[in-house]
Symmetry: C2
Subunit: 425 residues, 2 copies
Amino acid sequence: MREFKSVNWSINMSLEDSNTYTLGSFFIALASIFIAGKVVSSIFVKFRQPEVLGELIAGVLLGILGLIPLYGEVGYHFFHLLAEIGVAILLFEIGLETDLNDLIKVGLPSLIVALIGVVAPFFFGYYTIYILADMGFISFATDGSLFLLALTVAATLTATSVGITARVLSELKKLNQTESKIILGAAVIDDVLGLIILAVVSGIIATTGGTGSDFTVSIPSILIISAKAFGFLILAILIGNLFTKKLFIFVHSLKARGSLLLGALSYTFIFAYLAKLAGLAPIIGAFAAGLLLAKTHQKDLIEDRLKPVADVFIPIFFIMVGSAVDISSFNPFIKENIAVIILAVVLSIVAIVGKVISGFGVYNLNVNKLVIGIGMIPRGEVGLIFASMGLVSGVLTKSEYSAVTIMVMVTTFIAPPLLYKFYRD
Amino acid sequence: MREFKSVNWSINMSLEDSNTYTLGSFFIALASIFIAGKVVSSIFVKFRQPEVLGELIAGVLLGILGLIPLYGEVGYHFFHLLAEIGVAILLFEIGLETDLNDLIKVGLPSLIVALIGVVAPFFFGYYTIYILADMGFISFATDGSLFLLALTVAATLTATSVGITARVLSELKKLNQTESKIILGAAVIDDVLGLIILAVVSGIIATTGGTGSDFTVSIPSILIISAKAFGFLILAILIGNLFTKKLFIFVHSLKARGSLLLGALSYTFIFAYLAKLAGLAPIIGAFAAGLLLAKTHQKDLIEDRLKPVADVFIPIFFIMVGSAVDISSFNPFIKENIAVIILAVVLSIVAIVGKVISGFGVYNLNVNKLVIGIGMIPRGEVGLIFASMGLVSGVLTKSEYSAVTIMVMVTTFIAPPLLYKFYRD
């Protein structure tokens, strides 16, 4: 009736132990992330350099020490999700400090900056690949494959990652300046443009089967993608405006501990989810949530209570970004790296110049145009998505992928010190 | 040279999409946890009932709706780890509000309460199983197997889970009362006693191969386990006392945003890890970290900045505890459940009485002895560890396991309202 299994109880403990062993490792991993981030950042702050650069470099160090990927798949997912929560909270915090009307006021200059910041790097990148191929730097199979390579590299150059810039603007307490608003507006528009470019480029690859000839791009599908993205943003703001104030009067009346803070975070996460449904980056939704809550009576209270939570989550994002740097591809003593480094240097110059000139598209406004251009430089994870798609489909070789990755990292690491130099009075 | 794969790019997107799809679900899952927790808790607070009971019930509801286990293995691990961070932060917060000297002052009454609270439920539970077997309620194969069953059930009844009680004491703002200190001290001692019982019971099962006869228990190994656990606690406090104050003067001098808060959290996580290494629950380490930081000059600042972070993480723990309740085993219309429910009711009464009398072991002190006993009632996850070991080794049948689980849940859910009733003036 009662069947005994000859399982050793100390083995059965492993059921719980595998959990708690992992648990122990996670506690140590979290502590390492926090300690490394704050120690390196504090050194940067001491020398009046961007705190966020300290976190990125702490991430690189933890990556080299093997402290971040060591924790297996569960660990990877866990820290990745914490990082995503972190960057969502960052954009929410930025939105909370931004006046929607001011953002709309700079709508036209934002649009111009976004368009130039997409078109210029695209063409620069496209022709750079053709020129490098002419000079014999790049090997390719057919004219079609060269076309696809140029197209993919050009696409990676168009992205803008708003996280880095937003963080630096917040560190410098410049979020209320016109320059900052133009950058934020342009970054949001750029996310939508990025979706359209993604649709076009992937359409070309899919219909040509990788040969680059006889492609068709479905105009209706591109229109649908654009309409979904813009539609989400407009509807979220319009509908959100109708009930957000009343909703948060109710939330604030709840008596349970931390209701207002958790209400604001839930609102952020729901908007992040909706943005994702519309095909946009979740952080765009989080930013929209911040814009809406900026108009509530509880704005200051929310900001105050959010700060320590932001302090916990945001560094995890930047440390994870830093930990993704593959330091070995920078080693010039490895022969195969030299071609990669040359391509990376050329692409980085193109990437920086292409975005910096976008700032000079702003006319009639007395703003620091250079700062706007610099603010658009970081490519971040958006550029990496293009690059990894190129790698998986075979359009990019491993070396070209490495070069593009280095370009993304260079733009990410160079923007904070440049902004500090040119935007701090 | 360049090989193209005919992979559809929209399929390649799934690489990223599987991540971000999950990402979207996580955002919604987190939002559901926060919203359900705060809405149900607010109703409880309105009727002057424990907030934590609202969170437990919100967890039960989310479990019934399938909202928590829906997110697959990654989701399970993710929310489980967040919950563990939550309970660690709770015990750290409690430690921060506790004066170590006061805790040492009530050391003797705490020890008496812990000992009675282990011995009484153990013997009650042990003889209850024999009495129920005599009455034909329990089927068993051999005398040995009945002995092992009684032993295992008795062991589950000895556990004390400090999380629930600590949270209620904090809600009632009673952490400074002598009763609260006796409860906290007894719970820490009980965790060590639990380790010893675990070693003895698993030793008996292992050496008898499940027959319950001719067992040997290794006294040296039990001494080592006890020495490790007590040694950790004493060393952590003694060594920690030497450098913690100076360390946090340094941490507070760091200029990076949130250094003090992240320093305190890192300290907590490192102590949680060390406690785990010593074989104790990580929360005991977190509690010790709180006791140490309570003596620093930055105590008030840390407490202030920790509060919003605690508001985010702590509810996740209680909601996860609630979501683990298998509501179907409570359905009396399913015939097989009736025997389970009878056993569960008997065990719950034994569990409650066994702990309540422990409070009456306190002599010479003018305290509310009933409250101390009630504070020791919740078995929580510690009881569940014993039960799942019993299930895996075959000592417990599925029905007996269910009954033990229900007993754990009853003790967990009944303690908060009882404490509110008898401890609120």
